[in-house]
């Protein structure tokens, strides 16, 4: 028997199954077509509907029927064309006639697996709840016997170190005269390179994942901060190389080229080394990413256009997956040690080299290993709230380790070994998730991080990224970024003005600096970064306080 489904749409989804439902107002719409043209998902489309109006005019009932055909805007119920809630349609509508509305009762994840393909996306973990970092507050306020400082008047040194620091008893020193010491120039002891940097750095986002205008905007902002504002903010390149012009410029010292398991872009970097006029700030070796632990990087074919193929040294239009681990070695400890050393060798042992891992219960074991490797310059740990350009939804939402307890455990382990000043910990993943950038960064520092790394906050703050933890937008993987941030399509990325991005980067850092001072001043700290000053923070939840070994307040 022929099923009736074909007739009554039984196998179609209803709009109520979708995470965002478009509210379109017939009365306001002037049918300009801008919304349907701009929608990156093709979720809305112009359509027609037949309308039958029954009316009676005059004193005597005399019903008349009128039939008309009207143009309307309709929302697709095809799962591939789901509305992401990005609201670009609202942005372009001249009459405020259209906007997406979040539907908390949606069944999106149940259906977004057609063809046996699990849901993939970009963005962040979809968890709109308050993170641990936002449950911490600064409670040791200087009063009376130890006056608070003046955030506006006192001098604050908000700096940190990136690089392996020798313990004081291993420093090769000699007495230069009666009461003066000097470094022993004849000593053969290796003194690792160390950089003094601003403690909040921009984390690894690749040219490729980001559009040329976005990446250029960030790079210009970073350079301005260093050269004009004298704030030594540094930025990591992400996997996939860097523009040759930047590699050969004197500004490379503000950047950290990343090498990841696909080694994309490294042919070009290695060839550029003889032409470099400055050393890079450091080299980051990516072993993992908080947003998608166990996955390598992934640049989808539709983002591999000419510029990217040149920088990465690959053909255009192919998927560029990096393996989940570095494939060339058989023992991870050896691999890490050898890789770190090879990278040191490439720049004559003048550039700090450090690994980045995803937050994990095993982070302490990794750290333990690195502590015993005299070349490891730092350990960057990327917690589960980190972002990504492309990943499986299940990896983003359900895999990974929150950064707060991970960084705390690692720091306390270092303290136990007396090595808390030898190997800096860099914390990342969800810093500024709810907009509290300075507070989250300061809390992580007080839990034991030497520096923090931010990514999504920059995309939001500097370029207006639309994503949120209710899965708004989050289509960074498709190359259809409505803001022009994560796309290689010139039609889209030309929407983004790199000068404006650069300006916002500078504004964000300057206001961050003020807020950090506003946190450090009442704690009375200005000369050194309050790393591990855990007596200054408390949690509003006893279980969090217990786990982080800090006080509980209510």
């Amino acid at each position: 028997m022929e099923p009736a489904a074909r007739l009554d749409q039984n196998h179609e989804l209803t709009l109520k199954d979708f995470p965002y439902i478009i509210r379109w107002r017939d009365d306001r719409c002037k049918r300009c077509g801008r919304c349907t043209a701009v929608c990156p998902m093709l979720s809305i489309y112009p359509s027609v509907k037949a309308k039958r109006t029954v009316g009676s005019f005059g004193p005597v009932p005399n019903p008349k029927v009128e039939r008309s055909v009207e143009t309307v805007v309709k929302q697709s119920t095809n799962i591939a064309n789901y509305c992401t809630g990005c609201a670009t349609c609202s942005l372009v509508c001249p009459n405020e006639a259209i906007e997406p509305e979040f539907n908390p009762a949606h069944k999106f994840l149940t259906h977004k697996n057609t063809g046996g393909h699990p849901y993939t996306r970009g963005g962040r973990r979809n968890d709109p709840l308050v993170s641990t970092l936002d449950r911490l507050k600064f409670t040791r306020i200087s009063m009376l016997t130890d006056p608070a400082l003046d955030a506006g008047r006192h001098e604050f040194r908000i700096r940190t170190y990136l690089g392996r620091i020798l313990p004081p008893d291993e420093l090769p020193i000699i007495a230069a005269d009666d009461d003066r010491l000097a470094m022993d120039k004849n000593s053969t002891k290796f003194i690792p390179p160390v950089r003094e940097i601003y403690p909040v750095m921009i984390g690894s986002m690749s040219v490729g994942a980001l559009s040329p205008t976005m990446w250029e905007g960030l790079a210009m902002g970073i350079t301005y901060l260093n050269e004009v504002e004298k704030m030594p903010v540094v930025m990591c390149s992400g996997e996939g190389g860097m523009p040759l012009r930047l590699l050969k410029s004197r500004f490379i010292k503000y950047f950290i080229p990343q090498i990841a398991s696909g080694y994309f872009g490294w042919d070009e970097i290695i060839r550029a080394i003889p032409h470099m006029v400055e050393d890079p700030c450091a080299i980051e070796i990516k072993y993992g990413q908080g947003a998608k632990p166990g996955d390598g990087g992934l640049l989808m074919a539709h983002k591999v256009l000419k510029l990217i193929s040149e920088i990465r040294g690959v053909p255009t239009g192919v998927d560029l997956p990096s393996p989940p681990t570095h494939q060339t070695k058989y023992s991870i400890e050896e691999a890490v040690a050898k890789m770190i050393q090879s990278m040191y060798m490439a720049w004559g042992f003048r550039v700090p080299v450090y690994p980045k891992i995803s937050g994990s219960k095993t982070a302490k074991a990794v750290l333990n290993n690195l502590v015993r490797n005299p070349f490891a310059a730092a350990l960057s740990i990327d917690g589960e709230d980190g972002g990504t350009g492309a990943a499986y939804n299940v990896s983003m939402d359900k895999m990974g380790h929150p950064i707060a307890s991970n960084i705390r455990d690692c720091y306390l382990d270092l303290v136990k070994a007396g090595k808390q000043n030898e190997i800096p910990l860099i914390a990342a993943g969800g810093v500024g998730k709810k907009g509290n950038l300075a507070a989250n960064a300061a809390a992580l520092i007080m839990l034991g991080a030497s520096a923090v790394s931010i990514g999504k906050y920059m995309m939001q703050g500097a370029a207006g990224c639309l994503g949120d933890e209710n899965n708004r937008c989050n289509v960074c993987n498709l190359g259809r970024c409505p803001r022009g941030i994560t796309t290689q399509d010139p039609k889209l990325y030309r929407r983004l003005d790199s000068e404006k991005v650069a300006e916002r980067v500078v504004e964000i850092y300057k206001s961050l600096d003020v807020e950090l001072k506003k946190i450090f001043a009442p704690l009375g700290r200005s000369t050194e970064l309050p790393i591990g000053m855990s007596d200054a923070i408390s949690a509003d939840d006893p279980a969090i306080a217990k786990r982080l070994d800090i006080s509980y307040v209510c």
Binding site: L149, P168, D179, Q420, L523, G524, T527, I531, M533
Partner: protein, 375 residues
């Protein structure tokens, strides 16, 4: 804010001089306690210079236990001093205040000073832990030519209580602190000055970087860096760590606790070392507000402030006798015969060092080097 009074002299002086100087600065302390460290002792201790002195307070049973412990450890009692206690209202009398002089156990007689110092520290820490719970044994120092007295109360009353006004107790370097108590439960171990292996110091203000400093010191693997009943005990241990363990000349103490900026270090003749040292010891940076006054084993005394100079301090005197105090009125009381126009008010980059026997005073500036000499 606690009041500090240190006097260093070529001649033996009485601790009453410090007490009276504290008295003139009374506005600033609330009489919640006084600590005294005497170094380079005269009077009845003059003939025992090479023997370690154990200073402390015990209950009756604690004293017995202490005696047993010491003799079991092989220490031989050589001399015993007890202050002539005169009960005064406001000071709670404890059973036994003492300073016992011992000879080293036989097997340590010919050992190096380093081995002996380790033994003395271990012994003090063991005694401390034995008496910790019931406060039956409280020991402040165990070291040759050092005597420590501490008690809760007003300094002037305490001097009467200990009979300092009539006692022959004298020394060439005396550190005294009148407490301004910020905690309700006063623990005598939290009372300044603090002492470890020849180094002593006292501080006013809070140590806001206490937690990172404590964690760094306790993880150095040195048994003496423990307890920290006061957040300021760290200052004494940083002094010991940098000067004794790491072997840095004394002036670098200032660079460790109040490091310069990168740009400021550029102008230093020892910039390579200072830059690296700043990184290596960044956890030992204090953040004020503090004035630190202390001495080293050779008898040098010093004063430093935090990097923002949030606590006052002044050094003045005449050759052969100088005082390092927190207020000028305290200095007037301690050495009235000096020319006040030569008084030194160390600024944020300065460290004032008075040489042994109070021969001369020098000011070392982090940016300019030695800037001033007074002799």
């Amino acid at each position: 804010m606690c009041r500090l009074s240190a006097i260093t002299s070529g001649e033996y002086i009485s601790p009453m001089e410090n007490v009276l100087s504290l008295e003139t600065m009374k506005e600033g302390h609330d009489g919640s306690g006084m600590g005294l460290i005497l170094k380079d002792l005269g009077g009845e201790f003059e003939s025992y210079k090479k023997y370690p002195i154990l200073s402390g307070i015990c209950s009756k049973s604690g004293m017995k236990e202490l005696d047993n412990f010491m003799s079991a450890a092989g220490f031989k009692s050589v001399h015993s001093w007890h202050p002539k206690i005169k009960p005064v209202t406001g000071v709670k009398l404890r059973d036994c205040y003492f300073a016992n002089v011992y000879d080293y156990p036989d097997e340590f007689q010919d050992k190096s000073i380093t081995v002996k110092e380790t033994l003395l520290l271990d012994t003090r820490l063991k005694l401390r832990s034995i008496g910790q719970e019931d406060e039956s044994i409280i020991v402040f120092s165990f070291y040759p030519d050092i005597l420590t007295l501490k008690e809760v109360g007003d300094p002037l009353q305490l001097s009467e209580f200990f009979g300092l006004d009539t006692s022959l107790l004298k020394a060439k370097i005396i550190l005294a602190q009148g407490r301004q108590n910020t905690n309700y439960a006063i623990n005598l171990y939290a009372c300044h000055p603090f002492f470890i292996q020849g180094y002593g110091s006292m501080t006013n203000g809070e140590n806001r970087a206490f937690m990172p400093i404590r964690d760094y010191l306790t993880s150095r693997g040195f048994p003496g860096y423990i307890c920290y009943n006061s957040d300021s005990e760290g200052f004494t241990h940083i002094l010991h760590y940098t000067n004794k363990v790491l072997g840095y000349p004394l002036k670098y103490y200032k660079d460790v606790i109040t490091p310069l900026k990168k740009e400021e270090i550029e102008g230093r003749p020892d910039k390579d070392f200072v830059m690296y040292m700043k990184m290596c010891l960044r956890f030992l940076c204090i953040d004020g507000p503090n004035c630190v006054i202390g001495f080293t084993p050779d008898g040098s005394c010093f004063m430093v402030q935090d990097a923002k100079k949030l606590r006052p301090g002044v050094v003045g005197g005449v050759p052969g006798k100088y005082a390092l105090v927190s207020e000028q009125c305290g200095l007037n009381s301690a050495i009235s015969e000096r020319d006040p126009s030569t008084d030194i008010y160390p600024m944020r980059y300065d460290m004032v060092i008075v040489s042994p026997q109070a021969k001369e005073v020098r000011v070392w500036n982090q940016l300019q080097g030695w800037t001033k000499t007074m002799n």
